[in-house]
């Protein structure tokens, strides 16, 4: 089955088994192994990528659903020597240990910061009419789809705080 997607700015046409998930397409067919498989069931967030700027669990999505979509993976955010600001903040704050959840955490952070900027509410948002103030509780809640078994949560919060600035 043929699907055309743009990954990290490059158009790609794949002709693969229709059962192929977006995650496996990226990893097995495009060699982009930065996105990780922690559960394959949408429970851990290690496979998080940005599709048309929105974060999703790529293991829960079939490649064929993404014809014409723009996908950004961890590799597309930045590379050693030219890291994305979120990658740099994670590095400096030691917001990783084993690093296996990290690509997902970082893609999720990029998506989350945009969601907040766009005024998307979360369970922690008290006032739905005011803009989003990224309190610590907001950040924790919004990042809770990304499990870190090494439990780098305090450091992840610090990294995101560096980027988000102090809450309004």
């Amino acid at each position: 089955m043929r699907t055309t997607i743009t990954v990290n700015g490059t158009a790609q046409t794949l002709d693969v088994d229709p059962r192929t998930t977006l995650l496996d397409a990226l990893r097995e067919h495009l060699g982009l192994t930065g996105s990780k498989k922690g559960c394959d069931h949408g429970q851990c967030g290690a496979c998080t990528v940005l599709v048309n700027g929105v974060r999703i669990n790529s293991c829960l999505s079939i490649l064929a659903m993404h014809d014409g979509d723009q996908v950004t993976t961890i590799e597309g955010l930045g590379q050693p020597g030219a890291l994305h600001p979120v990658q740099q903040a994670f590095l400096e704050r030691d917001a990783l240990q084993c690093g296996y959840c990290t690509p997902g955490q970082i893609c999720s952070t990029v998506g989350m910061l945009q969601e907040a900027a766009d005024g998307w509410a979360s369970r922690e948002t008290a006032d739905l009419t005011a803009g989003i103030s990224l309190t610590d509780a907001e950040i924790r809640e919004r990042m809770s789809g990304n499990i870190c078994r090494c439990s780098a949560y305090p450091q992840i919060l610090a990294a995101i705080r560096d980027l988000a600035g102090e809450p309004a």
Partner: protein, 754 residues
């Protein structure tokens, strides 16, 4: 043999002239990890496209496989092979060790028709794609002759026996002293079965070149994995090249080889092409080890002034029927508090469950959940502050062995922590503080975890451009091994960090025992340090013996290494210049470390104190942590940043232990009820609020030449008990059954009429 006295001499690391030791430098491999370019095992690019293997697992706990119908699977698209015990390649029998020096014995897969636990691999399918392999695996039809299985731990205590080669430890007269004690506690605590849930499932990519197999796998012990595969395949270990460069979490659960390693190697040989195999998340729960449940009875007898006179910690735990693993949940208590009359020991129930094994701080992690609550209960009975009770029972020498402590800063951890946490805000009367619907309370607990040094080697080379490369068959499971090895090498050689490369996770490199028991940094790091010292000697010899060197003629004992320069006072040259001229092919040396002859003359541990504040919802029984702070004493800290990450990570495991993490056994199938990350509740980000830690200044000169100790496991030891004690302080409800989920809390609140 060395003595600890030799280690007390100043050396480049303890002098720390360039200050790189202890500094919170960024993780060595951090840029690779944050950019998704660090290749974990399953990410490895094989020489040609690999076929994909999928495991098929048993759905009964005990019995025999009577038939395996593979016809449909074999006929499915893309399938290349289907194996069961009927046609799997011959492997050495389980436990065989053709080479007596092998660190691990044969561990065959699909070896017989016997099923010993739910989730055991019973068939294996390889196809051209993951989708085809997974679909075909579903087509394998297996029939069983089930046999009665023992899977209910709490109902099987009558089958508990002494673990092999183990006796209870009796000191003084416990029964007499306990009977005579004016104040006593006798309570039993339960900690449930837990799973490691490393983010990266076990995985291997394997291929052959002639008689040699290369495996990229996710394992904490390089030599253990190499030897296990060699023994299983009955080939020399020199024919196994094992690589494990980046590991997505281990926590003890990847200390041994699993079927992905064996079956990928066998299938790659059979098919003549690379094969890769990963466990699914669900398969990880049964197919790899877990922390067993532990029931712990604690009896304390004390004088009215708080002095313990009688002390007993007895643990009952379980392991797989054919195995011998014991969760030594009482061991830690042998070194913690003074009491003249003591009893400690373990009982083991053999069950038809998957294999129990080590998980982050085996022994301490479940064990401290009992005693550190019992001390809280005793403190309340005596009307003493829990810190004061512990101070009154602080031993001068090891309470069991009578040996001196190498260094022990437990009291300082507690007092410093109390001050920084604001312990004086705690109302000692439970159930007094409210915040709306939340009952608020504080608790504390002590932490202790042993410190170990194992034999290890390391190699270090300097090239003509001055680059220094440290090589070791060591692993980094997220612990920061790469980083601390780079720091040790840089400081030992007096070069900037940018001049140092670290290469680990390769069975061709000088062996180190791997990551486990929080011995990694001390063990691998000390070998790296010794290798560096040997390189200093080699370069000194080179310089003073080279007529073209400004250092020619010595004296060798005045040679210094600083800023990449080798010097004798004002005569100097760069290391790069020296090597380029005098040894253009580079200089390579090795170094090794072994425990000192007299190391065991000291009682040696890491210590800490946890402080926790929780809120308990009066309506739902939900417990939320509000704040947690820990103070730790763990020798010289090599990297402030990565050490803190390790210790706070451990503390968060303690939060999970106290509040959410457990697995139950379904008695019908001998399976675990939680088989994925939605059911097994490891802490998520929203669960962790305001958690921080600090280290006391310390150097333990009895530990190793650098005075360092481990930090990977200390953080979990006692952490859950601090939360449990905070729940009691908040509510007046004493729970002894972990984790403290809303159903249990609510039942306690209702029983109190709240």
């Amino acid at each position: 043999m060395t003595s600890v006295a030799d280690w007390a001499e100043p050396n480049p690391v303890t002098e720390n002239r360039s200050g790189v030791i202890g500094k919170g430098v960024d993780r060595y491999e951090g840029a690779l990890k944050v950019s998704g370019t660090a290749p974990y095992a399953y990410d490895t690019v094989a020489p040609s496209p690999p076929a994909i293997g999928v495991l098929v697992t048993a759905s009964i706990p005990r019995g025999r496989v009577t038939s395996v119908d593979v016809a449909a699977a074999e006929a499915a698209p893309g399938v290349q092979l289907v194996w069961s015990h009927l046609n799997a390649p011959k492997q050495a029998p389980r436990g065989a060790r053709a080479n007596p020096r092998s660190q691990r014995a044969s561990n065959p897969a699909l070896a017989s028709d016997r099923v010993e636990y739910f989730g055991q691999t019973i068939a294996f399918v390889v196809a051209d794609t993951f989708e085809n392999a997974r679909a075909a695996a579903d087509l394998v039809k297996v029939e069983y002759a089930p046999e009665p299985a023992v899977v209910d731990f709490l109902a099987s205590f009558d089958q508990a026996t002494l673990p092999p080669d183990e006796e209870d430890v009796h000191i003084g007269d416990f029964p007499g002293a306990y009977g005579a004690a004016p104040v006593t506690i006798d309570e039993t605590y339960f900690s449930p079965l837990q799973n490691h849930v490393q983010m990266e499932p076990c995985a291997t990519v394997a291929w052959w070149e002639g008689d040699k197999v290369t495996v990229h796998t996710s394992i904490q012990m390089v030599k253990g994995g190499q030897h296990a595969l060699a023994e299983t395949l009955a080939i020399p270990s020199t024919d196994v090249h094992l690589l494990t460069r980046y590991i997505g979490g281990g926590f003890g659960g990847k200390g041994q080889p699993y079927d992905d390693l064996i079956l990928s190697a066998l299938a790659a040989r059979a098919l003549g092409r690379p094969v890769k195999v990963a466990y699914t998340r669900q398969q990880m729960f049964h197919g790899t080890i877990h922390r067993p449940a532990v029931s712990m009875r604690v009896r304390l007898g004390a004088e009215p002034n708080g002095r313990l006179t009688a002390f007993a910690v007895e643990a009952v735990t379980h392991c797989a029927r054919a195995a011998t693993f014991t969760e030594h949940a009482a061991n830690f208590s042998r070194n913690l508090y003074a009491a003249p009359n003591r009893l400690t020991g373990h009982r083991l129930v053999r069950m038809d469950l998957p294999h129990a094994g080590p998980m982050r701080a085996p022994g301490e992690a479940p064990g401290m959940l009992s005693l550190e609550c019992a001390m809280d209960e005793l403190a309340e009975k005596l009307g003493l502050d829990p810190i004061e009770l512990r101070i009154r029972n602080e031993p001068d020498i090891d309470p069991e062995t009578g040996k001196p402590f190498s260094i022990r800063q437990l009291v300082r951890c507690m007092t410093e922590g109390a001050q920084r946490f604001g312990w004086e805000r705690r109302n000692p009367v439970p159930g007094q503080v409210r915040d709306g619907r939340w009952m608020v309370g504080m608790g504390m607990a002590a932490a202790i975890r042993g410190n170990f040094l194992l034999p290890a080697k390391a190699g270090v080379r300097i090239d003509a451009d001055g680059t220094i490369t440290l090589r070791q068959g060591m692993t980094d499971i997220g612990t920061g091994t790469y980083t601390i090895l780079a720091q040790i090498t840089a400081e030992t050689m007096g070069v900037p960090l940018s001049q140092v490369k670290v290469e680990i996770g390769d069975s061709d490199f000088p062996p180190a025992p791997g990551s486990g028991g929080q011995f990694g940094a001390a063990t691998a790091g000390s070998a790296a340090f010794e290798a560096g010292m040997n390189l200093r000697r080699a370069l000194t010899e080179l310089a003073v013996g080279d007529p073209n060197s400004p250092l020619y003629g010595g004296p060798a004992e005045y040679v210094t290494f600083e800023n990449g320069v080798i010097a004798i006072e004002n005569r100097s040259e760069t290391l790069a210049a020296l090597v380029a001229r005098a040894a253009p092919d580079g200089v390579y040396v090795e170094g090794s470390i072994a425990p000192a002859a007299d190391a065991r003359d000291y009682s040696q541990h890491t210590y800490g104190a946890h402080f926790a504040e929780v809120g308990v919802n009066m309506v739902t029984g939900e417990v939320r942590m509000r704040k947690m702070f820990g103070v730790f004493a763990a020798g010289r800290i090599l990297n402030a940043k990565t050490a803190k990450s390790q210790i706070t990570g451990g503390m968060i495991w303690g939060v999970g232990t106290a509040l959410t993490e457990s697995n139950a056994v379904d008695p019908r199938f001998g399976s675990f009820v939680a088989q994925d990350m939605a059911e097994y509740l490891a802490p998520v980000h929203a669960d962790i609020v305001d958690l921080d830690a600090m280290f006391l200044d310390e150097a333990d000169d009895k530990a190793n030449p650098m005075g360092i100790k481990g930090v990977g496991e200390l953080g979990i030891a006692g952490a859950g008990a601090a939360i449990a004690n905070a729940i009691y302080n908040a509510t007046g409800v004493r729970l002894r059954d972990y984790p403290m989920t809303p159903d249990k809390v609510l039942a306690g609140l209702m029983a109190k009429g709240l």
